[in-house]
């Protein structure tokens, strides 16, 4: 069963391929655009990604990137609040937006012959947002409800937030994207407008259009609607406070009466993918697959689930797509009669054995087979491909970086994976966390 930590195994499906159908151009005002052709269905996905995420927020204003994302649906000089979504919906489409540490993105999925309609509206709100004095407080209530639903109601999410805060001593990746509640409560319309004016401009955005379109069509439309928008002259550089040397391991215990299934997690500070230099990140990506990718055949599954029976589930995860240092994570759910301490010890023993034994060549070959196959399967999901390009380009990567990624993965050797493992598993840079029930109930 694969019910836990589903996100950890998503990496295989998302690899970009199909370079021949990807076109890239930049408008005079600095808007970068990527077009991905897929003519199998009369559908188009239109996305605008901004190079502004929660890690770019000023201290004390956590959540402003996400709050502004909500307020972007509140109208412009020529559109009423909510009109964009209603118009998309009345045309059979769907729309939404999402915010992360390094980017904020807006998208519509709609019949290909309605691309012009959505592009016109998206371009309009890039420079002409209007937030009426009536809307902003209600919307702040909405983001507080969102936080309550996604985070405060879920001990696992609260635990993740605390672990992340402990992982980063200085970098804003330690602050949750949605924001700390007390800071969210104090966000204002002026904060949102200041954020909007600082970051929302064509020369700070990436347009991705994927589906039943041609690059010529997209270029002409983009020229018409995004072309006239003024670039901004003073977009701040994305220089965030960096991590100092991490010298002391951090350990957290988070008891919550709502926890039914305790687990242990460990994260290590790890290098991110770098534009033009993706080799180490590729090795770490494969390391995660070797250690915890497959619930039956991965190293940790063999040792902890099938071997000693210490755990009922193990996972390893790494996502290198980030501007600054990221993390390499491990997690395990103990078997019914095992404690978190025993489970953690079993993980460490397994890691030590792995560093000694090296990689099973047969497993390595199977992983390479799947890397190749993922290029075929990925062609079936254009929207995932669009997200991959948007995420990469707003994180400082080039189209070439994205397209060479499968080759970089294929070029990684077993020795490079082991080298990455030896380098990343440094307990001084690690956070170990126990999610558990409060003490008096922990014995059950």
């Amino acid at each position: 069963m694969r019910a836990f930590f589903a996100a950890a195994v998503a990496w295989l499906a998302a690899w970009p391929v199909w370079a021949e159908n990807v076109t890239h151009f930049t408008l005079d005002n600095g808007l970068e655009a990527v077009v991905i052709e897929d003519h199998r269905a009369p559908v188009v996905v239109h996305m605008v990604w901004y190079k502004a995420g929660s890690a770019d927020e000023r201290r004390g204003k956590s959540g402003i990137a996400h709050y502004l994302e909500h307020l972007m649906f509140k109208g412009t000089d020529s559109m009423a609040a909510g009109e964009l979504s209603k118009t998309v919906s009345a045309n059979g489409g769907s729309d939404n937006a999402f915010t992360s540490y390094d980017y904020t993105a807006y998208y519509q999925r709609i019949a290909a012959d309605r691309l012009e309609l959505v592009m016109k509206m998206e371009a309009d709100r890039m420079r002409h947002l209007k937030i009426s004095p009536d809307d902003w407080q209600t919307e702040r209530d909405v983001i507080l409800e969102e936080r309550a639903q996604r985070t405060d109601s879920d001990p696992g999410a609260l635990f993740g937030e605390q672990r992340n805060a402990a992982q980063y001593l200085n970098h804003p990746y330690g602050t949750p994207v949605i924001g700390w509640r007390q800071e969210m409560e104090a966000l204002t319309r002026d904060d949102a407008l200041e954020w909007y004016r600082r970051y929302y401009a064509p020369n700070n955005a990436v347009l991705v259009v994927a589906g039943d379109v041609t690059p010529e069509q997209v270029k002409a439309l983009a020229q018409t609607y995004y072309g006239p928008l003024e670039p901004s002259a003073d977009i701040p550089p994305r220089v965030r406070p960096q991590e100092p040397p991490q010298l002391a391991e951090r350990r957290l215990v988070f008891p919550d009466p709502r926890v039914a299934q305790p687990y242990v997690s460990r994260s290590y500070l790890a290098p991110e993918r770098d534009p033009g230099n993706q080799k180490e990140a590729a090795a770490l990506t494969i390391l995660a697959e070797v250690l915890g990718g497959n619930p039956q055949t991965s190293v940790l599954a063999r040792k902890l689930v099938y071997g000693s029976g210490t755990a009922i589930y193990v996972s390893a995860f790494y996502d290198g797509m980030a501007i600054d240092d990221t993390t390499f994570g491990l997690a395990a759910i103990p078997a019914a009669d095992m404690s978190l301490e025993e489970t953690e010890a079993a993980i460490d023993t397994a890691l030590a054995e792995f560093l000694h034994e090296g990689i099973d060549p047969a497993q390595f070959e199977r992983i390479r087979t799947q890397i190749r196959a993922s290029e075929i399967y990925a062609q079936d999901n254009t929207q995932a491909l669009a997200r991959r390009y948007g995420e990469a380009l707003t994180s400082g990567f080039s189209v070439e970086d994205v397209q060479s990624w499968p080759d970089v993965l294929m070029s990684v050797t077993e020795e490079e994976v082991m080298q990455a493992a030896r380098s990343v598993f440094d307990r001084r840079q690690a956070v170990t966390g126990y999610l558990t029930r409060p003490a008096e109930e922990a014995t059950q």
């Binding site: 069963m1 609040a81 919906s89 009345a90 045309n91 059979g92 709502r258 039956q296």
Partner: protein, 438 residues
């Protein structure tokens, strides 16, 4: 200016699907039926297999057996133990998944053209010759028990379980398909074999395929893959009696935000009024930011992050349901607004704009679903499960278009009843009147 452009575009109508979707009925030499869309542009095939009955075919006292069985299918077959089976799957870069819901057991397969025969051999072993080794059953049982334990403390799961119990009582729909800790612990290896025999039979099979495969190839594949399954399984479970009455049930749970599920009687998909109800639901609560409930509860009042309603026409019972979450101090108001909107919708009064927007959304969104082989294969399986004709994709939008304001009025008045709406609230709601609850 923008409004003008929108008005022009909205009157365009989409033909369906705009790319011809050529669905072929394939009958294998051995007599198995499948729907196929040939798509040779990507060298893989998406295959979807469904067995009707799903977890509702659990034998008495064996709740959870079919879920545990389905989760153990990939844990060893023929000469292979769990890890050997997984290694073989990885070596072929095939993707298999096994899942169960109240009405179906679902198997999804993605197979590369270059090694499809080997992938089918492998899947065949899992479907016809699973080992269900005691050690594998016990290992997966541990995972299921962990999920059951987590659900005991998860407000969403508690709300769902409470609503099911109220709605369906002792019928299988009335309890979690995972079973209880007690029922799952008691399942033997024989129970797992028996569970397989109850549900995985040829007389309840639905098959669809989309991808790089011809009808002749598919026929041979299916006979090899499924031909050796038993002809019949357990009799289908009876229809479920809906036991819902109006009111509010509160499950006390210490959490800052209350989770709410609400619902009343729905209607089956073959009801002549189904499409009118479908349009009503779109206006009421399924239209994302365009729906009345989203407008009133979220946009105007900020009482929730999201509120949605949906028609749930299951095989053996039908409900009209919805859900949201609100801070404990706000949930009473959110429920009051929801109930008021339900009552307003029950009058059947909608504006021309609302009706038109709902119809253009539903007709416009339909063809957008058909993107991707895996996606299309899933839709074709669903159509067959719901006994739709093979040309349904070409007639479906006309049925939406045909819904009139008079239909909306008649059907809303016939079906919707705010007094019959049952709310289940999990949390510490403040100021909530539960006097009507039982």
């Amino acid at each position: 200016m923008i409004r003008f452009v929108l008005a022009t575009l909205t009157v365009l109508s989409l033909t369906l699907p705009a790319r011809a979707l050529d669905i072929q009925q394939v009958t294998s030499p051995g007599g198995l039926n499948a729907w196929l869309v040939e798509a040779h542009d990507i060298p893989f095939t998406a295959l979807e297999i469904r067995f009707r009955g799903g977890a509702s075919l659990d034998a008495p006292e064996k709740r959870g057996a079919i879920t545990l069985m389905a989760a153990t299918l990939e844990e060893g077959a023929g000469q292979m133990d769990a890890q050997a089976f997984a290694e073989a799957t990885e070596s072929l870069a095939a993707q298999f998944s096994f899942d169960v819901d109240d009405d179906t057991l679902k198997i999804s397969a993605r197979m590369l053209t270059e090694n499809r025969d080997k992938a089918v051999d492998l899947l065949r072993e899992a479907l016809t010759n699973p080992r269900f080794d005691q050690v594998a059953v016990d290992r997966v049982r541990g995972q299921v028990l962990s999920i059951i334990a987590s659900d005991e403390e998860d407000p969403n799961a508690i709300a769902g379980r409470t609503f099911r119990q109220l709605a369906y009582g002792d019928h299988p729909y009335g309890s979690s398909l995972n079973g209880t800790a007690e029922s799952v612990k008691a399942l033997s290896r024989e129970d797992i074999f028996d569970a397989k025999a109850r549900v995985m039979a040829r007389d309840r099979l639905v098959i669809s395929a989309v991808g790089d495969i011809t009808p002749a190839e598919l026929g041979v594949l299916l006979d090899h893959l499924l031909g050796d399954l038993p002809e019949t399984g357990a009799p289908m479970p009876p229809r479920a009696e809906l036991g819902l009455a109006g009111g509010v049930s509160v499950v006390d749970y210490d959490t800052p935000q209350s989770v709410v599920i609400f619902g009343q009687q729905g209607l089956p998909m073959d009801d002549p009024d189904f499409f009118a109800a479908y349009v009503i639901n779109q206006i009421l609560g399924e239209g994302g930011f365009a729906s009345r409930l989203m407008e009133e509860v979220r946009e105007k009042r900020g009482l929730t992050y999201g509120i949605y309603t949906y028609l749930a026409p299951k095989d053996l019972a039908e409900t009209w349901q919805g859900s949201f979450a609100s801070a404990n101090g706000k949930v009473a108001e959110a429920i009051a607004v929801t109930r008021a909107e339900w009552a307003r919708m029950a009058t059947g009064e909608v504006t021309d704009q609302e009706l038109n927007d709902a119809k253009t959304y539903l007709t416009g969104a339909y063809p957008l679903r058909f993107d991707g082989n895996g996606q299309i294969a899933g839709i074709l399986a669903g159509m067959q499960l719901n006994h739709m004709p093979i040309d349904y994709v070409n007639t479906r939008n006309a049925k939406v278009e045909a819904v009139t304001k008079e239909d909306i009025k008649r059907v809303a008045q016939r079906l919707l009843d705010a007094d019959a709406l049952r709310f289940v609230v999990v949390g510490k709601p403040e100021g909530l009147d539960t006097s009507a609850s039982n």
